[in-house]
């Protein structure tokens, strides 16, 4: 066995030496033969002649010898490859089409794989990232989508933990070689060296850096002693980005002051740019957990047991596995967690640290996109399979000759497969390269900024595995493609030439494949169009008009302003902004974002016991709906008269009004919001940011100025000018009121909405790409098949013309052939689209009433492309000269 292998390898890799040795052997043999004959008395010349005759041709021997050496397979493969390259050169247009098609299809697959890898698989760029585990608390809460408690589904969600709970885990865990706490998305209002900005920071335990194995590029990280006493050690580590942009990478930055949320810190070190955090929001500043009260301003005491803000990351102890840690950590759970109420920490989840996904809809999105990429690859296979069946007809003579010269059918099939594998390999490599461009575009368009205008950092890196999978998929596709033409070639070649001509099918070759392509194309166009329409609906607005609305977030809370001072500031800002000539109106919300909000329990006074329902809720300033241009159905908006001194009032949306007062008497009724009675003064049309998959939401709005505890706000400012250009002017105006208060999330409302529906926009881009490709392929496929049919039927068409058939009739026949196939496929595609649309309901917004338009338009588009593909072949058929056609016969 070993001898065999060594022999074969030598034969392959030392081919020259082996051939030389053989030649030497044969020469010696000849010499001996001659010597024998000379010894027998023949003259030398005659002896040479006879010896040569007796031996036969050297070449044949060498050939037979090569077979014996066992290099036949590799030699034939090399031959096939060389032959394949020649064939490609001979049909450059066809080969180019094939390579480009495979490249475009596999690029989509590679792109979605890269997306999936970055979002779900990629490890942190730190030392031995496979040892890291994320420890999170689990909470059970009511499903917010549910309307009433009895049909509420329980949802398990992951949550952060409090500092005392972190310490309890850290000090008792044995399966982990360290447990660090971090709050990776702290909005910090930072100023230093003349720069002022709200930046993303992280509050981390001192062991965070050592646990991850990070090294500072300047200065140092935190000493354990600096994370031991609350509020004492005001030290900060800055990112290399901040170091560069704020300090010009000067060494003097170390030791210089940095003001964070109005507390003075000292910079002690600079972190490397390799690791910028565990979330897509890059970290610009690190402060120790003992400074959590500065970094987190939503609890009275951020270090207390009731303030859950910290995430935990640990490193497995040597020899321990994730399962060990997952088994141990729940046993260390604080006693209070065992009798937790809904929404409180009640369990522990231990998971590997992978990916950057912070959105639980992303797995579904990526799954759908992967499915679409695979369908596209199938369309590519069907298309090229069909095209090459037609093309292979042109090679009938060649294959016949080879078969009659003794080539086996298997050999010819292998030859065809090799040609396709060659095309597939080139296409796959090109696809992987192209995918880098597509991924870059996707990242640039959708993954650089979040919906509040914060910069994001995703690293979309193509790994060797992805490249391998991509090329593998291309090769797999190539094999599938080669099956049908290979058998067609052999079958056709085996039949005698005459019989082939008589049995030539009059029907369109590969019509099922073509119809399938048309079907997939229609479905993809429908899905792409519906997604695009949804994105347009969201960003364009339905019962709101986002155009010309600017947003900004004012956070005096970061400076610990008491409510009265903060509210005075807010009042002054609104007044000042409203006086600007370019400002049409100004309003604000107190909970969550503009157009969005939180949740509140509501009840009718007549309800007994604890009966409540949860409704969407926000606290809004006067003329909020006027600013958003949301129509009031009845009653009034809040105005300056609704204050702390006036009765509590509320506005409900149409859905809530209809749910609680089916008789239509909502206006003037009383509703308990957080158990406080409010009189309903207005009914407003629904503003829904929910997709078609979600139920209509009940909304309740109360006045911003009737909440005495309000501190922060998000402003909505309607302008008479281009909002993006006005943002600096607005900021300057706010700074005039109070230069210390941080302004964050300055962005236009359309930008924010676009950020909110990132999954939809990603899907639009991706499905749009695949749909365009599918339509194009359908056209090309039909064109190829019809051209082939016309070429094959030239003589038949000639005869029919000679017998008096009108050219128009011939054209009709050809076009009819094509349209029947594409039309049938399009009809099936509409049905497929209806099914496919259900898979993306959660990405669709706005009413479905007008959807049929998109279905019709998609089917029409594909049929029109089909018609265009018919024109050239039909004209060629009509141009057939009977005499010429018959002479060909």
């Amino acid at each position: 066995m070993l001898a065999d292998l060594r022999h074969r390898l030598r034969a392959i890799f030392r081919r020259d030496a082996v051939e030389r040795e053989l030649a030497e052997e044969l020469a010696l043999h000849l010499e001996h033969e001659i010597d024998t004959r000379v010894a027998a008395g023949l003259p030398r010349a005659e002896a040479v002649r006879q010896a040569r005759l007796a031996l036969g041709g050297i070449d044949q021997i060498t050939e037979a010898h090569r077979d014996a050496r066992g290099i036949g397979l590799i030699e034939t493969v090399m031959q096939d490859v060389r032959y394949g390259v020649r064939t490609m050169r001979r049909a450059p247009v066809f080969s180019l089409t094939a390579v480009v098609t495979i490249a475009l299809s596999t690029a989509a697959l590679a792109t979605v794989l890269t997306l999936a890898h970055t979002l779900f698989v990629r490890r942190l760029p730190v030392k031995r990232p496979e040892e890291l585990v994320a420890v999170a608390a689990t909470r059970v809460r009511w499903n917010p989508e549910a309307v009433a408690p009895r049909d509420a589904a329980r949802l398990q969600i992951l949550g952060p933990v409090s500092y005392p709970d972190y310490v309890a885990f850290r000090d008792r865990v044995t399966t982990l070689n360290g447990l660090a706490a971090h709050y990776p998305t702290a909005p910090l209002f930072a100023s230093a060296n003349g720069n002022v900005k709200e930046i993303n920071g992280a509050v981390v335990s001192a062991n965070f850096f050592t646990l991850l194995g990070l090294e500072p590029i300047a200065g140092r990280f935190f000493h354990p002693s600096e994370d031991a006493v609350p509020d004492r050690d005001r030290v900060a580590v800055i990112s290399s980005n901040l170091w560069r942009t704020w300090f010009g990478s000067s060494p003097q930055a170390i030791g210089s002051p940095l003001r964070i949320n109005s507390v003075d810190f000292t910079i002690v070190g600079v972190a490397s740019s390799d690791f910028v955090g565990t979330t897509p929001l890059p970290i610009e500043v690190y402060i120790p957990t003992m400074m959590l009260r500065t970094g987190y301003r939503w609890c009275d005491d951020a270090l207390a047991a009731d303030c859950t803000v910290l995430q935990l990351i640990g490193r497995l102890a040597p020899g321990r596995t994730l399962a060990d840690a997952a088994a141990e950590l729940p046993t260390l759970m604080p006693e209070s967690w065992r009798h937790a109420r809904a929404g409180e920490n009640s369990g522990v989840a231990t998971t590997a640290v992978r990916g950057l996904s912070d959105d639980d809809t992303e797995p579904r999105l990526v799954t759908i996109l992967t499915g679409i990429a695979i369908v596209l690859l199938a369309v590519c296979c069907a298309n090229l399979g069909g095209l090459s069946t037609a093309q292979s007809a042109a090679r009938r003579t060649e294959v016949s000759i080879r078969l009659s010269l003794g080539a086996g059918a298997r050999r010819i099939v292998r030859q065809l497969a090799t040609e396709w594998l060659l095309l597939g390999a080139i296409g796959g490599i090109a696809g992987a390269v192209l995918s880098r461009v597509l991924t870059g575009m996707l990242a640039q368009s959708f993954f650089t900024m979040d919906d509040e205008g914060h910069p994001l950092r995703y690293v979309f890196a193509q790994t060797p595995t992805i490249v391998t999978l991509t090329i593998g998929a291309a090769l797999g596709a190539a094999l599938v493609i080669s099956i049908s033409p290979a058998f067609a070639v052999v079958r056709r070649a085996r039949a005698s030439d005459a019989s082939v001509r008589s049995t030539a099918s009059r029907r369109l070759a590969g019509r099922w494949l073509l119809a399938a392509q048309a079907m997939a194309a229609v479905a993809m166009v429908v899905v792409a169009a519906l997604l695009a329409a949804s994105a347009h609906t969201m960003v364009g607005g339905r019962n709101y008009d986002p155009s010309h609305v600017a947003l900004m977030r004012l956070r005096p809370r970061l400076l610990k302003y008491p409510p009265d001072r903060a509210q005075q500031f807010q009042r002054n800002v609104v007044q000042r902004l409203a006086m600007l000539p370019s400002v049409a109106s100004v309003s604000m919300v107190g909970v969550g974002g503009v157009l969005d909000g939180g949740w509140a329990p509501i009840a009718l006074p007549a309800w007994t016991g604890d009966r409540q329902v949860r409704a969407r809720y926000n606290e809004i300033g006067p003329s909020y709906f006027a600013t958003l241009r949301t129509p009031l159905l009845s009653g009034r908006e809040f105005d300056a008269g609704d204050s702390l001194r006036s009765p509590r009032v509320a506005i409900v949306n149409e859905t809530l009004a209809a749910r609680l007062w089916p008789d239509g008497r909502a206006l003037g009724a009383t509703l308990l919001v957080n158990t406080t009675p409010h009189r309903i003064v207005g009914i407003v049309e629904d503003i829904s940011l929910g997709s078609r998959a979600s139920l209509p939401e009940s909304w309740i709005y109360t006045p911003f100025w009737q909440n005495p505890a309000q501190v922060d706000s998000r402003l909505a400012i309607r302008l008479n000018a281009e909002p993006a250009a006005m943002l600096p002017v607005l900021a300057r105006e706010v700074n005039r009121v109070d230069p210390d208060v941080p302004i964050a999330e300055m962005i236009t409302l359309p930008m924010r909405l676009a950020g909110l529906i990132r999954p939809v926009r990603v899907a639009v881009a991706f499905v749009g790409y695949t749909a365009a490709l599918a339509v194009l392929l359908t056209g090309i496929g039909l064109f190829g098949a019809l051209s082939f049919t016309v070429a094959r039927r030239t003589s038949e068409i000639g005869i029919r013309m000679a017998l008096g058939a009108a050219r128009a009739r011939i054209v009709r026949a050809i076009v009819g052939d094509g349209l029947v196939v594409v039309g049938g496929g399009a009809v099936a595609g509409v049905a497929l689209a209806a099914a496919a649309t259900r898979l993306v309901t959660h990405l669709l917004y706005g009413p479905a009433a007008a959807d049929w338009l998109y279905y019709a338009a998609a089917a029409m588009l594909v049929v029109l492309v089909g018609l265009a593909a018919c024109i050239v072949p039909a004209r060629r058929a009509a141009g057939v000269e009977p005499v010429v056609a018959l002479r060909c016969e």
Binding site: E25, L28, H32, T36, A64, H65, D67, A68, R69
Partner: protein
């Protein structure tokens, strides 16, 4: 020479003949064919076209091994020798051959 009876060698026989020819001592290619021809009294002739492929096939199977050495007339020549598994193979094949020819002879001699 042209009048020597021509016998078509059954498949696999050539391997046996080569192994047998090498049983005594290592030989180079021409000497192997010469030996087979001599011992069979010119009845069996091995064409160069089948000899060398067969030699390389046997070498690949590990039954013979090749070494370069000097021939009688002091030319560099490739000498083939039986390996241990080659010797075993020779015994097996010879036994099988004898059994086969005996059986065939028995069959043919039966009236």
């Amino acid at each position: 020479m042209a009048d020597a009876p021509k016998i078509d060698l059954p498949q696999g026989t050539l391997d046996l003949l080569i192994l047998k020819a090498l049983a005594l001592e290592p030989q180079h290619g021409w000497a192997i064919s010469d030996r087979i021809q001599q011992i069979s009294k010119d009845a069996l002739r091995v064409q160069q076209g089948s000899l060398y492929p067969a030699l390389h096939r046997l070498e690949r199977k590990g039954w013979i091994k090749a070494e370069w050495g000097a021939s009688d007339n002091n030319r560099r020549a490739k000498f083939y020798a039986l390996t241990r598994s080659g010797k075993k193979q020779l015994e097996t094949q010879a036994g099988a051959w004898r059994a086969l020819t005996a059986a065939v002879a028995l069959l043919l001699d039966t009236p």
